[in-house]
């Protein structure tokens, strides 16, 4: 698979994982917060597998961050049922996950 395709796959999974994580934070529903945080973890592990397929340089990492932010923004906009506080925590949650999978 080409590097570009891997970037697309990686950012798609990460955007979904982050949407779940952010959803669990802003909806503050104790029973589902745990469940969605767990779902997000599973997806982040999946993204980690995709990430390990390549050696990423600084330019790739910047590119991943840019594409991820765009996809995540879109994912959150589409979900109008998630509280609007979701947009305030995009940057922080994105940085956390990129650090976790060593793409910061």
């Amino acid at each position: 698979m080409s590097k570009n395709k891997n970037i697309q796959e990686l950012t798609t999974i990460l955007a979904i994982a982050l949407r779940h994580k952010i959803g669990s934070i802003v909806n503050q529903n104790e029973i589902y917060a745990q469940k969605y945080a767990k779902d997000a973890e599973i997806l982040i592990k999946q993204a980690q597998k995709v990430s390990r397929r390549e050696n990423w340089n600084n330019y790739d990492k910047e590119n991943i961050k840019r594409i991820l932010k765009k996809k995540l923004q879109y994912e959150l906009e589409k979900r109008e049922f998630l509280d609007n506080k979701k947009f305030n925590i995009i940057e922080g949650e994105m940085n956390k996950v990129l650090k976790l999978i060593e793409l910061d």
């Binding site: 949407r19 909806n27 104790e30 779902d39 998630l82």
Partner: protein, 259 residues
């Protein structure tokens, strides 16, 4: 000298009787100190749950009794596979209801129970108002409490309400599974979730045992146990599961539109 006795109910005050053989030791006017050794614990079954084995009942009483030292707890529930599976349960699901949001109570309870009982617990602490709200609007919560045991009387009210946003929130993961590859257990959980939501929207029974039977008949015994146990599945199977998700999602969307 000491003795142990149960507190009994008196007409004006509750009381502790001095055993006859100690009459000469504990005399009228003597000063004594009374110490609580063990709280009395009652357990209440949800109306659909059959009586559990003595061992399970005793363990639940023990859990409730240990937790009675936490004044923040308003009510406690045991739910999940521990109640409905003979032996095939993973952990003991404990739902704790509090008056208001409590920071770190989950960890405190978990550590305490592990120290006392050395068993695997899954604990969720939830304030009463969120809990009552979820019982009205959430198919998965209602299904979870279909079978439960509590330390206080509890009836799953028939009062339900449709909260489309909550349903959409629950549909996020099944929708995602149409696009991304994930482990097979996630497919199991989410197809179950879709069946439960559909049952709720159609005002039907949310018995989790029947939902499992329905899922089994839909997938067949082999595939059912394969994904329940998170075993690897190939692309053809994933395609079949996605078809199933799509069908259920369409049904739900249609039901939501009609309401």
């Amino acid at each position: 000298m000491e003795f142990e006795h149960k507190v009994s109910k008196g007409s004006r005050f509750n009381q502790i009787y001095i055993p006859k053989e100690m009459k000469s030791v504990f005399e009228v006017g003597d000063i004594v100190k009374v110490k609580l050794l063990k709280k009395k614990t009652e357990i209440y079954y949800s109306e659909n749950l059959l009586k559990l084995e003595d061992f399970k009942e005793k363990l639940i009483k023990e859990i409730f009794s240990h937790l009675s030292i936490f004044p923040e707890i308003k009510q406690m529930f045991i739910v999940g596979s521990f109640l409905i599976e003979k032996v095939d349960y993973n952990d003991i699901d404990l739902i704790i209801i509090t008056d208001k949001k409590q920071e770190n109570l989950e960890e405190k309870i978990y550590d305490y129970l592990i120290k006392k009982l050395q068993l695997k617990f899954h604990i969720i602490v939830i304030p009463e108002n969120s809990f009552l709200d979820l019982l009205r609007v959430c198919p998965l919560t209602r299904s979870m409490f279909y079978y439960c045991i509590s330390d206080k009387k509890f009836d799953l009210s028939k009062n339900i309400m449709l909260d489309k946003n909550h349903i959409k929130f629950l549909l996020m993961m099944p929708e995602d599974l149409l696009k991304i590859t994930a482990n097979s257990r996630l497919f199991y959980d989410n197809i179950r979730r879709l069946i439960t939501i559909n049952q709720f929207l159609e005002n039907k029974d949310l018995n989790p045992v029947k939902i499992n039977v329905r899922l089994k008949s839909l997938l067949g015994d082999y595939l059912y146990s394969q994904i329940k146990n998170n075993e690897p599945i190939d692309e053809i199977v994933i395609k079949r599961l996605r078809e199933n998700i799509k069908e259920n999602l369409n049904k739900i969307q249609k039901n939501l539109k009609d309401k």
